[in-house]
């Protein structure tokens, strides 16, 4: 019976991991589509100018520079997105590695900005006082943070900020996710998935659901 439960739990985590990966890639590729669509229209503008220059005045250097600048802006935006997605994709390369948790979570929150921004909610990650390195599965940690953010997201008012803080406490890295909510979280049961992911990282998970505020802590032992 225990074996069946363990398998069911593992299957659930695997499925949630795929959902997490899918949510991030869907959001980022949607943004990339916007970038390409914008480049498409700007280059169309160039075509229009070329056609009109046959009958009217020639295209000016100023117009050409303006168009080039606009295209460069979009390619820079697209390049940044691809780099971040690539970094995220590589988070599942190895099951255990030393990594800087600020860098990993900063990349995740940057990729999640659009997902969260659609609901007119802000995501703010504060910089820790010093470098915090842990040893473990980067993907699991990111999945745990993603689940924590998604947990509070439905209950947060538009215009609110979900804050993420990182600090060191007694040789553990502590990731705190907190936000104010609209007094509707009371009935939530403990999130078993975040608990399991924290355990897989040899850590633990704590949660405090207040009347109007939510705070959860993911504690991971720091690298020796």
């Amino acid at each position: 019976m225990n074996q069946n439960n363990n398998k069911a739990d593992q299957d659930k985590l695997l499925h949630e991991g795929l959902e997490f990966f899918g949510a991030i890639t869907a959001s980022v590729t949607h943004e990339l589509n916007n970038v390409l669509g914008t480049i498409d229209q700007i280059s169309g503008l160039l075509e229009d100018l070329a056609v009109s220059s046959e009958h009217e005045s020639a295209v000016t250097e100023e117009q050409m520079n303006s168009i080039a600048e606009r295209i460069n802006k979009q390619t820079a935006r697209g390049t940044k997105l691809v780099k971040r997605l690539n970094t995220f994709s590589h988070s599942s390369d190895t099951s255990s590695v030393d990594f800087n948790i600020y860098n990993a979570i900063e990349n995740l929150t940057s990729l999640m900005k659009r997902l969260v921004g659609i609901k007119k909610i802000n995501l703010e990650l504060s910089t820790p006082n010093e470098e915090i390195t842990v040893t473990g599965n980067t993907f699991f940690l990111l999945q745990a943070v993603f689940l924590a953010i998604n947990r509070i997201l439905p209950f947060v008012k538009q215009g609110t900020t979900i804050e993420i803080a990182l600090l060191e406490r007694s040789n553990s890295a502590v990731i705190i996710v907190k936000a104010e909510h609209e007094n509707t979280m009371a009935e939530l049961s403990i999130c078993s998935s975040i608990k399991k992911l924290s355990s897989a990282l040899a850590g633990s998970f704590e949660e405090d659901i207040g009347d109007e505020s939510y705070e959860c802590k993911i504690l991971i032992p720091m690298s020796k």
């Binding site: 589509n33 669509g37 498409d40 169309g44 503008l45 606009r70 979009q74 659609i118």
Partner: protein, 143 residues
Amino acid sequence: MAQTKVLIVDDEKDFADALAERMRSRNLEVDIVEDGLKAIKFVTDKSYDAIVLDLVMPGMDGIETLKQIISIKPGLQVILLTGRGSVEKGVEAIKSGAFEFLEKPVNFENLLDKISRAKSKKDALTEEHTSDMINEILKRKGW
């Protein structure tokens, strides 16, 4: 001939700006807003021939914006732009009263054609409505 008036509703400013610029070079009159709430205000205050509306926007989404626009200006035609993976939403949009939905990246000439057809449909509906009103008045007067 009166200029075709279009409202672009899209939170992607650079995309909307480029699209508007191209439309203006084709002699269309274009306004841009970045969200559904502003779109509703503009539609209430000004007369447009067609709306080009992004499906996914922060706050009020495209479907909700579409429904509100139609309730304020029933004859006004709305063309929805959808990203990949939201074609089902596009179908939902048609069922909710959208004139057409196009996938991004959008073919500009195709979009212009849709806008022209949307304007024709709006004009036809306005004429029909005016004709119905006149007939109603004539009937009441017994003429």
